[in-house]
Symmetry: C2
Subunit: 355 residues, 2 copies
């Protein structure tokens, strides 16, 4: 069995992501050394518990994490492979294919290199906002290539695990296609909408609500960072943007036809539900107990108190309708095993429960 | 001087917006009556303190607020004008021009009608999520027309004031153009991006982060409600969407050119800063005090403690660089009148402050 030790580690680049990785490793007991071309960043990171600025003999490092801007990745990785002869070298860049191609073009032995991409960050930047918890429960993609040594892959897996992330393994090209779709395209579309705001009179902008702010939030990200990401993935992005361009053209053609617009909107809503995690279990998993609400002030508050006293966990609440009777009805969605018990308790307390 | 009284008021339609208006009016001491074709909604709203289901003589009402879905607005407003002979009638619909045109086509006297649009809501719906605070500090547009009586305009102004909103007055057509730009277009673009997700493999979707969730959040809104809004404003929307379509086409043409991409992204970032409110004061208003950070664990924590003890309000913190010296420097942005005092206190405590 291959033993994997990451200590001592060197983190090159102490912006938000680098400093957060360093904090997480330090907390996990790894001896972490820091380096940054912008010395102030390294000092701030060190002062926030990310590691030390002291230097070791280059042969001592077991792991080097390169967390520099995308355009500098390949050269800093190649230099790290040459400088630190016993270290696994990884990076945390948002695009993997171009970097791998550039590294291959150098002719270097890449057995000790395995790329990775922790899917966390912020439109904020720099070590002041770093956190050792930045990657907890976030996706961390590792992108081994055909000449990555097993030891290198295991070291990067261990790095992601120590940071508390969920591991996903993909080929570099496949990763770039995926992040193009779920990260780079949304970034460009957010900038498209935000850029359009500059043409509007201030009087119109004062009508902006939370929806517009959500859609345009990521457009506040650093253009100098994002230009590098877009440049490194422009081939995949062109394909995706052309599809959206065609979809938008079709929407414009049917904008006067409410049925077509509703289909378009419905497709969008189904898309939001396809995103994992946030949108929870399907309603069909719950049982619905329908309770009549008397037309009296405070009835709903009493109803909720009685449901709470029943000790049943409420998953969702909907308002139900009976077109034939003027009566208020609330659908209480609960675990199917608790539905009978809730029905009995509420009936006993005098509520009318629909059979 | 014209006396304005809104009591008793009738709210027709007790979804999120109607029930919230009713709760706010009730809290302000207005006697509020509720009506809803979906009786359950009215019962739930009443039970949550929005008003009473009891009916008065039609001549008694001073104000009628119509809060029904967009497609039903014109007919319900016309019916309200006929049924309640002494009431100012307003609505809370998202689109004003079409409704006004439909009302004019009925030939009714519209002196007692003045449209309005509180800019608040949610992708959630229904009276269960209603709140009397929904409109506090939110924009509320009123759209008087050329035959609105002064009494009607004043009544609707008072309604918005009692709800705690910020008043903006616009012509209906002008309002529709503005909300098309800042609300309906973002809704459609969010749905465009979200709809594209349905074509992606689940493996790609698991790489989705917060940025994509923000961009697509409002696409989770009700397609049956939004189809009505889009239909009522499709003329203005077509123009806006065609501009975005052209902008997107131009982006695709230059996607391989990093300078052009950066210009595009920079324009987007400036757009986010054009939004009022959220993005605060320009950094140039603050004075920067630059303090050297020693390379020692905990230095930053001590620095922040000393700044706090100095009793100075910190507006922003940046990391500064001196390319010529390996030293960490923090820029502390404060009110210009406090900069000298901070410099003196920090120097006295032994910190090196850049002159």
């Amino acid at each position: 069995m291959i033993q994997v030790s990451l200590s001592p580690a060197l983190v090159i680049g102490t912006g938000l992501v680098g400093a957060s990785v360093a904090q997480a490793l330090t907390r996990a007991g790894v001896e972490v050394h820091l380096s940054d071309a912008r010395y102030s960043h390294a000092v701030v990171a060190a002062s926030r518990g990310a590691g030390t600025l002291a230097e070791l003999d280059p042969g001592a490092y077991k792991l080097v994490v390169v967390a520099v801007p995308p355009a500098a990745l390949a050269s800093v990785i190649a230099e790290a492979l040459a400088t630190y002869p016993n270290a696994t070298v990884t990076d945390v860049g948002s695009v993997k294919g171009v970097v791998l191609a550039q590294l291959r073009a150098t002719g270097a032995d890449l057995a000790r290199y395995c790329g990775s991409h922790p899917m966390a960050g912020s439109q904020k930047d720099g070590p002041l906002t770093a956190s050792p918890d930045l990657f907890v429960d976030r996706t961390w993609v590792i992108t081994p290539h055909d000449t990555s040594a097993a030891q290198s892959v295991l070291s990067v897996r261990k790095l992601a695990e120590l940071c508390g992330a969920r591991l996903v393994t993909m080929a570099a090209q496949h990763h770039d296609e995926a992040v193009g779709q779920v990260s780079h395209v949304p970034q460009l579309i957010s900038a498209l909408v935000a850029g359009g705001l500059l043409d509007l009179p201030a009087e119109h902008l004062q009508l902006a609500g939370q929806g517009l702010r959500d859609v345009t939030r990521i457009a506040g990200g650093d253009p100098k960072l994002w230009r590098q990401i877009i440049a490194a993935n422009s081939g995949a992005l062109r394909v995706e943007l052309e599809e959206l361009h065609a979809d938008l053209g079709r929407l414009i053609e049917v904008i006067d036809d409410p049925d077509s617009v509703e289909s378009f909107l419905d497709r969008g809503r189904r898309g939001t539900r396809a995103l994992p995690g946030k949108h929870g279990s399907a309603p069909s998993e719950w049982a619905e107990v329908v309770i009549e609400i008397p037309d009296a002030p405070g009835a709903l508050a009493r109803l909720f108190t009685d449901i709470e006293d029943a000790g049943v966990n409420v998953e969702d609440i909907t308002i139900d309708h009976d077109p034939s009777r003027p009566v208020g009805m609330l659908g209480v969605h609960v675990d199917p095993t608790a539905a009978m018990s809730l029905t009995n308790v509420m009936t006993a307390k005098g509520w009318t429960v629909k059979p």
